[in-house]
């Protein structure tokens, strides 16, 4: 593969570039013969750090004139992050250079990690605005408002969320509004959404990571082909199999909540969503927004609430 002196074969470079660009495109590494071992917790963390920051991969020459893998990133990351990720493919000894290109994409955009400062971590849905043109980030209530524990106008929201290494220095705004979740199964919920008021406009950039601009909201219909970008599973495709769904979702506090007007989707290849994708915007093939991801089941069903009524309830619109 590569010798300890750092010389690499061109086939290996291509292999490493493909592996890294897969991350930039939101793909999860698949198990292949080339994958030497299952991911450790550290490698999973590296994957997320890379996904948040990776802009491109190229090859340059270092001082002795040897080929070097040049990794273009948004913010400074350690080389060990790249090594840790490539180690999964049995590629440890590449000479790697990190080039910080700054923020060429959204500072905070739909599909990226977000969390309440106390811990809950999920996915940014998208940027929205109210009738006065004030911009917000939309996400899950159970993430950004910590399942009803959040304090409006007080609680900081972090990007990435605490489970992805977010700290107080990653604050992007404060909790601005949220729909309260009715636990127990007496009252049916229709929404699980919250708004973050960003500290700067760059912290609420319109559109979705990998998918671009979002069109207007539309209703959920059976067999509609859908896509989403989640912080855990990245970009996935699937289709809706159930609409007008009333179902019970269990929350981390151990309580159940009854939801009305949901829809359920399945993935075309593997799971449509995974734990950590809460809040992800679900769109159709034309990028028309259908709903917000709320829950998942063990057998691969993903549950969403319809976006149109949610936006009306919060008094905001897509932008």
């Amino acid at each position: 593969m590569s010798d300890p002196g750092g010389r690499i074969e061109s086939a290996d470079i291509e292999h490493a570039k493909r592996a890294l660009m897969g991350v930039a495109l939101g793909r999860r590494p698949r198990r292949t013969r080339m994958m030497h071992r299952t991911a450790t917790q550290e490698q999973n963390r590296s994957f997320r750090v890379l996904r948040e920051n990776l802009l491109g991969v190229g090859v340059s020459k270092n001082e002795p004139g040897a080929d070097t893998l040049n990794v273009l990133v948004r913010k400074e990351i350690g080389k060990e992050v790249v090594y840790s990720y490539l180690d999964r493919f049995g590629m440890q000894n590449f000479p790697v250079e990190i080039t910080v290109a700054g923020s060429t994409r959204a500072a905070a955009q739909g599909g990226q990690s977000v969390g309440h400062y106390t811990g809950p971590t999920g996915t940014i849905s998208c940027a929205v605005q109210n009738e006065n043109g004030e911009r917000f980030l939309l996400g899950s209530s159970h993430v950004m408002a910590a399942s009803n524990r959040g304090k409006i106008g007080v609680d900081p929201i972090w990007h990435p969320g605490p489970r992805d290494g977010g700290t107080a220095s990653h604050r992007i705004g404060i909790l601005s509004d949220f729909t309260k979740i009715a636990f127990g199964c007496q009252i049916a919920n229709r929404f699980d959404a919250a708004l973050c008021r960003p500290d700067t406009l760059a912290h609420a950039t319109p559109g979705l990571l990998h998918l671009g601009e979002v069109a207007s909201a539309t209703a959920a219909f059976p067999q509609t082909k859908v896509r989403k970008v989640g912080r855990e599973s990245g970009l996935t495709a699937g289709h809706i199999i159930i609409t007008n769904l009333t179902t019970i979702i269990r929350y981390p506090n151990g309580l159940d909540a009854l939801f009305d007007g949901m829809f359920a989707a399945v993935g075309d290849k593997g799971d449509f969503a995974k734990t950590g994708d809460s809040g992800a915007l679900i769109v159709d093939e034309k990028n028309r927004a259908i709903g917000l991801l709320v829950g998942v089941s063990d057998n691969g069903l993903s549950f969403g609430t319809e976006l149109g009524p949610t936006l009306d309830h919060l008094g905001v619109e897509l932008m």
Binding site: G119, P120, T121, G122, S140, H142, V143, S147, G161, P162, R163, C185, D192, P222, E232, I241, I242, T243, N244, L245, T246, T247, I248, I249, R250, Y251, P252, M262, F263, A264, A273, K274, T275, G276, D277, S278, L293, V294, G295, V296, S297, D298, N299, L301, S302, F303
Partner: protein
């Protein structure tokens, strides 16, 4: 000759779904009720565990309401967040 027409009123799929929700949701392992295909009159029951008696009881109910039920065993759907408490 006298022609006698008899009409059988078939309730709409939304009404049948609402009726199914009232009758079955929260009972006998049914944790969700929704519509799979309105035109084909197919509704879905989400079950936390597979249960034969639920299938038998609800299929007899389905034939009375002219719908077909898809049974989907989903376990316990959970909110898809990560936190610091083991998820």
């Amino acid at each position: 000759m006298t022609l006698v027409a008899s009409f059988v009123m078939v309730p709409s799929i939304s009404r049948v779904r609402d009726e199914a929700r009232k009758t079955f949701l929260g009972r006998n392992h049914v944790i969700g009720v929704g519509i799979v295909n309105g035109k084909a009159r197919r509704i879905a029951f989400l079950l936390d565990v597979d249960c034969n008696s639920t299938r038998i009881e609800s299929e007899s109910w389905a034939s009375q309401h002219a719908v077909r039920i898809d049974f989907i065993v989903v376990g316990s759907p959970t909110a898809a967040l990560l936190d610091f408490h083991g998820r």
